[in-house]
């Protein structure tokens, strides 16, 4: 690893991309080869899920590559668009009423852009409190002005929660890009890639572990596949990969392992929360949604939305950045 450190930043990034795209190509070829063989329905369902995961990693990596090539502003914009699409899907799934119209407009067209502008401007103090404090106060006011008390708390809580996950959570990914550490300039992009990889590895490890380890589920009514054992396996997998990737981060190997472990653990539990949310909204497990194509993106980004803020704030606190 010593020789790697002596390379310039852009050489290191270039090398990293070559390695990742190489791995992805290998994985895709393997998945394709596997699809040629006969499979039991159960195996083919698992295979299908893995292919979807793989596709998500492909898309994520390509997006990341584009954003690295075009700079932090473009990356922030890309994440803002993803945030917008995820929030759109979330709001589709929740039962809002006419009186929420103004509050929803405010979320989509004021809060969301402002949050990303704050991230792009590195105003991290305001960035951290803008949604939990200011939007938290403003949204129920707008909803109350709509003059409809039917299920008021439920409606406002849902909008608030969606904003928190889809906008606040997601916006921490580009914020990582812009966070500057002592002796770690220009390499924020690495941190984003790091968290993306850790989260993706944890998810894939979880799919695989759930297949092998049949244990008592933690929450049978929400996700039958998740047990403490599988959670631990996937968090460890994320942690180990994170530990191995320490050289692209400002951390030492043990720190890197610990931080990746926390982020991966958060991601898996965040996925559980999103599953519970979707269950509540009437979306069948693994199947097509009850509403209008509202499937997919939210599941993909939920782990990231949960892991990124925890990661961001623990890093920031630890390094005082």
């Amino acid at each position: 690893m010593g020789s790697l450190r002596s390379l310039t930043v852009s050489q290191q990034i270039g090398l990293l991309f070559v390695a990742i795209f190489g791995l992805l190509i290998l994985a895709s070829v393997a998945a394709f080869y596997r699809s040629l063989k006969e499979m039991t329905p159960e195996q083919s369902a698992l295979h299908h899920r893995l292919v979807l995961d793989l596709r998500a990693v492909w898309i994520g990596t390509v997006l990341f590559w584009i954003s690295w090539a075009l700079g932090a502003a473009v990356a922030t914009l890309l994440f803002a668009v993803v945030s917008f699409l995820a929030l759109r899907e979330f709001i589709t799934l929740t039962h809002t009423r006419r009186a929420d119209h103004r509050a929803l407009l405010a979320v989509f067209f004021v809060v969301l852009p402002l949050q990303y502008v704050l991230a792009a401007g590195r105003a991290f103090n305001l960035f951290s409190v803008f949604i939990p404090v200011y939007a938290f106060a403003a949204l129920p006011i707008l909803a109350a002005l709509g003059n409809d008390a039917t299920r008021f708390l439920e409606r406002t809580a849902k909008i608030q929660w969606g904003t928190m996950v889809c906008v606040y959570g997601m916006s921490h990914a580009p914020a990582l890009l812009l966070l500057s550490f002592p002796r770690y300039e220009e390499r924020g992009a690495f941190l984003v890639l790091y968290i993306v990889i850790v989260v993706a590895v944890a998810q894939i490890a979880h799919e695989l572990a759930a297949r092998r380890l049949r244990r008592r589920p933690i929450a049978r009514h929400i996700n039958r596949n998740l047990s403490w054992r599988t959670w631990l396996v996937s968090a460890l997998a994320g942690g180990i990969v994170g530990g191995l990737l320490y050289w692209i981060t400002p951390f030492k190997p043990p720190q890197s392992f610990l931080i990746a472990f926390i982020a991966a653990g958060c991601a898996i539990l965040g996925d559980l929360v999103m599953k519970a949310m979707k269950r509540d909204a009437g979306v069948r497990q693994g199947g097509k949604g009850s509403v209008t194509g509202a499937v997919g993106l939210l599941d993909r980004v939920a782990p990231m939305c949960f892991a990124a803020p925890v990661f961001f704030h623990s890093v920031r606190w630890y390094f005082g950045a």
Partner: protein
């Protein structure tokens, strides 16, 4: 590309960004045949949504109906409905010597497809109101034109009556199987049947 085409593309991009505008071709494929799409009507956004969910080459020959007094009132409204959407204008004030369906019949004779909202006005949520007779008369007059029932899902949440700015929420447009007036069918029975065909698509959309 001409300016109306560019504006059309921009509008359909916007509609897709806000609603997804997914077209589900459940009962018929998207083909360049002459058709009348008839749909439930909940919002001003309905037409744009149907239009955006059509493939691009079908958009040019599929025309909406616009009230002449409202949509020609300002230059901008007139330009958009005339140049971008190629709307068929009808007048809402009824005169004795004029058939209100004549402009529609004219368009159908030209070989264009139409999108109509047979409820006549935007309904509140829930079931669509009873259909007006215009659909029946057109169907009788043009037996060769396919009648496609269409269900627009979720759009009342995007832009409720009285609001101007749409909220981004996913919507879908489901196109059902073509239907026709049966030989000797009563007006009332046909209109009920047509309405049921639209409502039946709701469970398909879900």
């Amino acid at each position: 590309m001409t300016r109306p085409e560019a504006v059309g593309l921009a509008l359909s991009f916007l509609a897709r960004l806000i609603t997804g505008a997914q077209g589900h071709w459940y009962g018929c494929p998207p083909k360049a045949e002459q058709r009348i799409y008839f749909a439930n009507h909940q919002s001003h956004f309905d037409w744009v949504l149907i239009w955006a969910s059509l493939p691009r080459d079908l958009r040019a020959q599929t025309r909406p109906i616009a009230a002449r007094d409202y949509w020609t009132a300002t230059k901008l409204k007139h330009w958009i409905t005339r140049e971008v959407f190629n709307a068929v204008y009808v007048s809402r004030v009824r005169t004795d010597d004029e058939d209100p369906l004549e402009p529609l019949a004219e368009a159908l004779r030209n070989g264009d497809s139409l999108v109509i909202f047979p409820e006549g006005t935007r309904g509140h949520k829930g079931d669509p109101a009873a259909f007006k007779a215009g659909l029946f008369h057109l169907a009788e007059q043009f037996p060769d034109v396919q009648l496609i029932p269409t269900w627009i899902d979720n759009v009342q949440r995007v832009m409720p009556k009285g609001e101007v700015v749409p909220v981004p929420i996913l919507c879908s447009v489901t196109f059902g199987a073509p239907m026709q007036v049966a030989a000797g069918e009563e007006k009332r029975t046909f209109l009920t049947r047509a309405r049921d065909a639209v409502v039946a698509l709701r469970s398909v959309a879900a």
